[in-house]
Symmetry: C2
Subunit: 398 residues, 2 copies
């Protein structure tokens, strides 16, 4: 059978091989990109689903508008207003099947062979593959502990004239980095100056441990004239409530949103109205603030525990910036005193010692830094984190 040429643009075997190893008994995994199932508000979701099926069974079980279920769009507008986005109406939202679908629709709507996209190096690996499947060339802009380097970004935009710039400005995956306020404004100015679409992917912004992060690009765009016309924002309930609902959303300029709706019509017709009605009832019930407080508290403890353990067990073999939110800790092997500096080799040794993580390599669209690795502190409790990091120490010494 002869498959479409676009399949030649992607390579997923490295990650697949790694994930196969995770089934090994007794493995402590820092590899996933998941929230912790134990933190799901099962009772709240059950009650929301019950209300959806009692109050609006026909709508909750029928086909729905491709744009999204109106009561959910209204709740999402309220949810975003609580985060400083006060000028976005329910009709500005396209509800997507997880924010992964928002990325896919952006690809389908915007990208063809020969088009270029600039992403952070490193970035979410499914974004790289998603855009490559539409034929795009994916270019990396450098990231430091303040997020993407906007000077380097401007040079790359001027040079490559990309169709899109894709950023995870807050608690980036995998970098953990958060773009500073000054750089956020600069990014919006670049969007206007170069008439380039900026895509803000923001699944982690609610998961802050201390102070709230700077406002999202979407919130800030009100202060940068013209920038809203060049900004798309992807959000998700996956990391804060439940990935299993598959509820994400896209806020984008009207012409883009309308075309994304058309593409979605032929992608999956609409996101599960059953899940949408459940999510709408959950938000309407006012549960989110308590749910967010709980997950922030638990992930903050785990992030702290992982940072402490890493300093203790791996010492000068690594550097990292303590995360202020999100799910991930991004580590760089220093190679100090001749210690191991290849994270791919380290990952194999770690598996042998009973602990798993994802090496940094596949998160780079270009020029991978093989000394990097991503640790998730989200799904193991503090004791498991300490044990797992101790095993990392043993693997490094092996």
């Amino acid at each position: 059978m002869q498959f479409a040429e676009r399949l030649n643009n992607v390579e997923t075997s490295a990650i697949r091989e790694l994930f196969k190893l995770l089934g090994k008994p007794g493995i402590i995994s820092f590899a996933g990109g998941f929230p912790d199932s134990a933190l799901f508000d099962v009772d709240g979701i059950r009650a929301a689903s019950e209300r959806a099926l009692t109050e609006e069974p026909g709508a909750a079980l029928q086909y729905g508008a491709t744009e999204g279920y109106q009561p959910l769009r209204e709740q999402l507008a309220g949810f975003m207003a609580g985060k400083g986005v006060t000028d976005v109406a329910p009709s500005d939202f396209l509800v997507t099947t997880g924010s992964q679908q928002a990325l896919d629709l952006l690809g389908k709507t915007m990208l063809g062979p020969g088009d270029k996209v600039i992403v952070e190096g490193p970035t979410f690996l499914a974004t790289i593959q998603c855009f490559r499947l539409y034929g795009a060339e994916v270019i990396s802009a450098p990231v430091d502990d303040q997020g993407v380097n906007t000077e380097a970004l401007e040079k790359l935009i001027a040079e490559h004239k990309p169709k899109m710039v894709y950023l995870i400005p807050t608690f980036g995956n995998p970098s953990g980095a958060t773009l500073t306020l000054a750089r956020r404004k600069k990014v919006l100015e670049l969007a206007v100056k170069y008439q380039t679409l900026v895509v803000e992917d923001d699944p982690y912004g609610d998961l802050y441990f201390g102070e709230a992060p700077p406002p999202s690009l979407l919130a800030l765009s009100a202060q940068v004239p013209g920038s809203r016309a060049w900004l798309a924002h992807c959000g998700s309930l996956s990391k804060v409530l439940s990935p299993g609902l598959r509820i994400g959303w896209l806020v984008a300029p009207e012409a883009l949103r309308e075309r994304a709706v058309m593409c979605k019509q032929f992608s999956d017709a609409n996101t599960s109205t059953f899940a949408q009605a459940t999510a709408a009832q959950y938000l309407k019930a006012g549960h989110m603030p308590a749910t967010l407080a709980q997950v922030r508290k638990v992930y903050a403890e785990r992030a702290q525990a992982m940072g402490d353990a890493l300093r203790k067990e791996l010492g000068d073999a690594i550097t990292f910036v303590a995360p202020q939110g999100g799910l991930f800790l991004w580590v760089k092997l220093t190679g100090a005193r001749g210690q191991l500096q290849d994270a791919n080799v380290f990952a194999q040794r770690a598996i042998a010692k009973g602990v798993a993580f994802v090496p940094g390599t596949p998160f780079f669209a270009q020029n991978p830094d093989n000394a990097t690795l991503r640790l998730s502190f989200a799904t193991a409790d503090v004791a498991k984190i300490q044990e797992g990091v101790a095993r990392l120490g043993q693997a490094l010494a092996a």
Copy 2:
């Protein structure tokens, strides 16, 4: 903003304009492609959802395998075995976000610019647009009351060497036609002879009114050596249980299925595990036979009522074949005695009289027959059907 070129391949305005008119108060609609919400087994689905959240809350609310939730794949294998497909294992299923996503993944996996697909003329209009979005040229094969004409199909395959042949063999949308057993075997033989992928879309096969239709191509493929390697089968719970769950599936040769899984990973990661776990519990509880018996009975009555009313109210102005299943009645305006023969004009007049349907034109990828129209008998009750068809009679006479 400059959008992707693929968007130039689709045209959706005709249908959109029509659907806008449906909001008019008092309209009786035969236009939808929906099942009737009043028939949904809300209590059964509520109980299934409750069990999913009680027995397996972590899995039901977490990310899941892209291939699908294993307990649902097992239930689907059992469901298909009940329909004569006894040699398909749970691992052969890819669960999709409605069968629309199965079509989208087939497009993404198989089709690029310049590729050709043969479909029935007429066929499901979202399929035409879905495949065109991947750049394919969509070619129509003629359909009669026994389904696609296999002699004409063979000539088209030989001439165009298509990447796929897409068929709705049972109670086709919009034709209502069902492919005969002899033609089914011929289609499978053509797949092998020309090494061409045949896609069987089967959302309606369970909705038969009298005798069961011939076995699906998937069931029959066991009798045609080599044909399984060239057959993809799309199924769905949308028309028989609930579209709002967005549960569909794809059964396809391993190399194709694996690539479709990869494409799905970057399309929406996985279908809502909440909806999948609910569907799995529903099937496991053994509710489907009673649910199917109920919807078959109601749709049979409505199909009968619509056929009777059409004969009475429109007489020799139309011809149609009484449907034996599905949701649709496909009508052709005869133009007898100088009566109206343009269904697009008829649709406008009908709206003015308070009744809506979809003219046949957009269901044709090529050479539209403007004398055709599709009536859904699924969502209006018998009294509304009689009133609506009487209005059609008035519109015709107007």
